[in-house]
């Protein structure tokens, strides 16, 4: 078994009196395709925010490649190799697609490697995503699927070890879902560990090697897609009693 890339130990997060995450622990292994599912408001996005650094957890520790990143600001975690896409795309609206990618390339990828040819790398990523022809327009001119692709492309431009894809497929057609899945598979083949948060079961089941299920801020199940599909607890969480 590969080494753990990401370790979440007993993480708790409270908003006022409401406990969004209670004592959550999980591990993601290097190179793994990892699925995270759960009903709305179960704490998935909160956990992602804690891992990426957008939120600080109130208790517990988060380790990335053996380094404790719990107290680290988000941008440093990105430089270490954690990148995420947003559920609602958050492009840099005044910049062209190329420039959008230049930001993480300059600030995360090259801050690490010391390279400086941002534009070339950005073009390469856009080509990979099939967005090459749109390199010089601003995100306002993109369709929904292109917007999702840009969101992923930008995360990739940070040259991450771990890519967190937060509902990248919501609202897409079945063909478009396959399109995004193909991209994610390709990235994984290139050695990037991926955490996928998704409501589209078909996609998660097909993609993930291992799945963790959340309900009401706690982990209720963990296992292969097969095992999860047969789990009674999970069924209850989703369908109610």
């Amino acid at each position: 078994m590969a080494d753990p890339l990401l370790e979440v130990h007993n993480v708790t997060k409270r908003f006022g009196g409401f406990e969004a995450l209670s004592n959550v622990s999980l591990e993601v292994r290097e190179g793994e395709r990892f699925g995270l599912i759960g009903p709305n408001g179960s704490g998935k996005t909160t956990l992602i925010n804690c891992i990426s650094g957008a939120l600080r957890n109130d208790g517990g520790r988060i380790l990335f490649r053996g380094t404790d990143v719990t107290e680290m600001p988000a941008y440093q975690r990105t430089r270490l190799g954690i990148a995420r896409s947003f559920q609602i795309p958050k492009p840099f609206t005044s910049m062209t697609l190329l420039e959008n990618l230049c930001i993480p390339l300059e600030y995360a990828a090259h801050a690490r490697s010391g390279g400086d040819e941002a534009a070339g790398d950005a073009r390469e990523i856009l080509r990979l995503m099939g967005l090459e022809s749109k390199a010089h327009i601003t995100p306002a001119g993109l369709s929904q699927i292109e917007m999702r692709k840009l969101e992923l492309a930008r995360a990739m431009a940070a040259k991450p070890k771990l890519l967190i894809s937060d509902e990248a497929m919501a609202g897409l057609s079945s063909a478009e879902v396959d399109d995004i899945l193909a991209i994610l598979f390709k990235l994984n083949e290139d050695g990037i560990t991926i955490i996928m948060i998704e409501h589209i079961m078909r996609a998660v089941m097909r993609f993930s090697e291992r799945i963790v299920v959340f309900d009401a801020g706690a982990k209720i199940a963990e296992g292969t897609p097969q095992a999860i599909a047969e789990n009674k607890e999970v069924e209850k969480a989703y369908l109610g009693e």
């Binding site: 988000a74 941008y75 440093q76 990105t78 995420r84 930001i103 993480p104 600030y107 990828a109």
Partner: protein, 314 residues
């Protein structure tokens, strides 16, 4: 290449400024140009935070006045030369800028803008009650009679402002074309995404607020010698806040040239209006131009020019 052209033109401005003082005897132009150049500095400074980073500062007057009052203190306490005043004014206002930079940790958008407005009120009250610098009564600052190399002190003030304007524009230009500027643009577009893409947002915002503060303080530092009588209501005049915001909006907020253009146009218009139409119309001009521009040319003049040239090409 670009860099060389820019720096050469900036140098040319300084040389031109120096030449002008040899040719023109008429003092009016120095006073008028001083005011316009002062707005070039203020507008450029505002734009580094407002235009590049997306944080609206309503309290420009506070930074400007802080620079002016730093000068007052130093003139009174140590009769310091203008160079020292400019440096000190910049430092003090820069510190205030650093302070409001930390405010951005918790305050975004309109809340930040309101906080800067509140800051200006609090600061003005402090100066009203600080007797050493004249309090509400104000204080007279007597201009030195002569300065070496210049026939009058006003020429000297003008020359200083030329240099300050060039410095401010150069700083803005440098930021815009550096990694810092691209990071600031990312913050303006989406702060959360920027942070997640590796941009050290707090650090960059602190740079922006501090640089913006320094430049505003620098613009205010020679003010006591310009006006010779400093009192809180004129140093904290809302005009400075409004103009330093309106000028970049009119010129265009995304490039260094926008605030310069806006300041030169609006500043000149105001100067001309002052000595031609003697009425409330002056204020009306600012209002109407402002509204017309934000509605009809939201990207400012620079944006308009771009749109036209693009249209021709495509």
């Amino acid at each position: 290449m670009q860099r060389r052209v820019f720096l050469a033109s900036m140098l040319a401005v300084v040389v031109l400024g120096a030449l002008v003082t040899r040719v023109i005897q008429n003092q009016y132009y120095y006073f008028a140009a001083y005011v316009i150049l002062q707005y070039v500095v203020l507008a450029t400074a505002w734009n580094i935070l407002g235009g590049y980073t997306g944080y609206v500062n309503f309290g420009s007057a506070a930074f400007f006045a802080l620079g002016a009052y730093t000068s007052v203190v130093l003139i009174k306490a140590a009769a310091a030369p203008l160079v020292v005043l400019v440096v000190a004014g910049g430092l003090v206002s820069g510190l205030l800028g650093l302070g409001i930079g930390y405010l951005t940790l918790r305050l975004r958008g309109v809340f930040f803008a309101i906080a800067t407005l509140a800051l200006a009120v609090v600061l003005q009250t402090m100066f009203i009650n600080w007797e050493y610098v004249g309090g509400a009564r104000g204080i007279y600052i007597i201009r030195p009679k002569t300065v070496p190399f210049f026939t009058s002190y006003v020429e000297f003030l003008f020359a200083v402002m030329v240099v300050l304007a060039v410095v401010a524009v150069t700083v803005a230009w440098w930021i815009e074309n550096s990694r810092v500027g691209r990071g600031l643009a990312a913050i303006r577009d989406n702060e959360e995404a920027a942070e997640c893409m590796g941009v050290p947002t707090l650090k960059l915002k602190l740079v922006a607020t501090t640089v913006s503060g320094v430049l505003m303080g620098v613009a205010g530092a020679p003010f006591p010698y310009y006006v010779t009588y400093v009192e809180p209501s004129s140093a904290f005049n809302l005009d400075y806040a409004v103009n330093s915001l309106a000028m970049p909006m009119i010129g265009g907020t995304t490039t260094w040239a926008g605030p310069v253009l806006g300041a030169v146009l609006l500043g000149t218009a105001q100067q001309v209006a002052t000595v031609t139409i003697s009425s409330a119309l002056n204020l009306l001009i600012v209002g109407i131009i402002l509204v017309a521009f934000v509605i009809l040319a939201p990207e400012g003049i620079i944006g308009l020019v771009r749109r036209v040239t693009k249209g021709k090409r495509g």
